[in-house]
Amino acid sequence: MATNTLPKAGPVTARRTTVFMKLLMALSGALFVFYVLVHMYGNLKIFGGIEPFDEYALHLRTLLTPILPFGGFLWLFRALLVIALVAHAWSAFYLWSRAKGARTTRYVAKEAARVTLRSKTMRWGGVALLAFLVWHLLQFSILKFNVGSGAVNGSEGRLVISSFQVWWVVLIYFIAMVALGMHLWHGVWSASQTLGWAVSPRARARAQATATVVALVVSVGFMLPPLAILFGIVKGN
């Protein structure tokens, strides 16, 4: 059968493909996985009391000094995270809009195939996480406002404890951590697939198991301090 040939749009290079966009998303996502693991570990210091927690916050600022100025490493890492966030969100919205354009007439019958909830919620879950990120940064990093009634006196640890004594703050974080867990559950597996690390059935099972473990460790690890504070296990005195 003779087929017509569509004219190509621009030069054919690997950088102009959707798979390259996926690679961009996978690599920026990998940085976030590393970051949330470290962040989660740091948060657990609240179980040692306010002093170790504040000390840890200070250590993040004195890391690599005197080669870098005070807070230098933290700002470099923040810059890296912002670049990764832009790459992650940009590739996500680009692929999202492409996917919408790839099927403009929808099916009448809803799919009954095995599609997991975690893969279905990747996009809107990601948007929800972005909104949560804005709230979280305003609360604990940019404005540092205290929604609770405890005294803060410029201490990060006291701000955390005062904030999580408020039930609705804990609820916001609980919902966000469920969203993060779901995002990581599909995201870690998806990134290993995109990076070409799941080429055999065994490697695939390993990637899926790793994704489950990372999702559980991060979401449970992050939820421990707020719950412990809400239920009065950690009082900070």
């Binding site: 087929t3 190509k8 690997a14 966009m21 690679l23 790839a102 009954a112 697939q193 990076l195 695939r204």
Partner: protein
């Protein structure tokens, strides 16, 4: 068996389509799905109505011509092609929704028939090896390890039916392409053009308007030839290698 069929009818590529309801009676459960549609078409013909257009060729599950979205599942409830699906997979009195593959890269020609020449153009872009014509070389002069031959053969089972695209929430053809990439990439003959192949095929795929893969796995579930998801992993890996080789 008595069934109620809800079928997409569309008179032409630019015409507006709609779902129509057709009751069918006395259907044998030993009929194939397409034979059941043949029975309906004979009834429509006898009434002087336009029969329902659908694609089919070999009717033995090896050509990839047939393909219908049956109650929301590509090729219906079994792991097989539409022609090899039998009515015993349905129950008496069931309501069955029949739609064409939905993807903008597969435009509807008529009723349930879609134009899949975008697949042909992806193959033209790189789904081949270049070889001199003439006397065939001695097959044993190029050894192929057994696991590589097996994996290549597994991927070569793809019949290009388009069920992967139809089932994919992003209407992506990555499973189809991954099968071709793996099929040729596992063999010595596929090596000289390996980097150029993946870049060219993926570029054409994107240009045709297919979506990107989000590793959902609906494609592999729908595949009548049970092509595993790891061929997409192979595709991604090959593209990454091509990138590092300067393509």
């Amino acid at each position: 068996m008595n069934l109620t069929l809800k079928i997409w009818r569309q008179t032409g590529p630019s015409a507006k389509g709609a779902m129509h309801t057709y009751p069918v009676t006395d259907i044998s459960e030993d009929m194939s799905f397409l034979e059941m549609l043949d029975v309906l078409n004979e009834q429509l013909n006898a009434r002087g109505d336009e029969p329902i257009a659908f694609d089919s060729d070999c009717r033995e599950g090896i050509c990839g011509a047939c393909g219908l979205m049956i109650s929301g599942r590509a090729h219906g409830p079994e792991v097989t092609t539409t022609c090899q699906l039998h009515m015993r997979s349905f129950s008496d009195g069931e309501e069955i929704t029949i739609e064409p593959w939905r993807a903008d890269a597969f435009p509807v020609i008529k009723d349930l028939v879609v134009d899949r020449s975008s697949f042909d153009r992806i193959i033209q872009a790189g789904g081949f090896i270049s070889a001199n014509t003439g006397a065939a070389p001695e097959a044993h002069s190029v050894p192929v390890p057994k696991p590589a031959a097996d994996r290549s053969f597994m991927a070569a089972a793809c019949i290009g039916c388009g069920a992967c695209v139809a089932a994919c929430p992003n209407a992506s053809a990555m499973l189809f392409m991954g099968a071709k990439i793996t099929h040729l990439g596992e063999l010595p003959q596929g090596q000289p053009e390996r980097d150029a192949r993946v870049v060219s095929m993926v570029s054409t795929h994107d240009h045709e308007g297919f979506g990107g893969c989000t590793n959902v796995g609906a494609c592999s579930d729908a595949c009548p030839k049970e092509i595993p998801l790891d061929v997409i992993n192979q595709l991604n890996k090959d593209l990454r290698h091509a990138l590092t080789h300067g393509h």
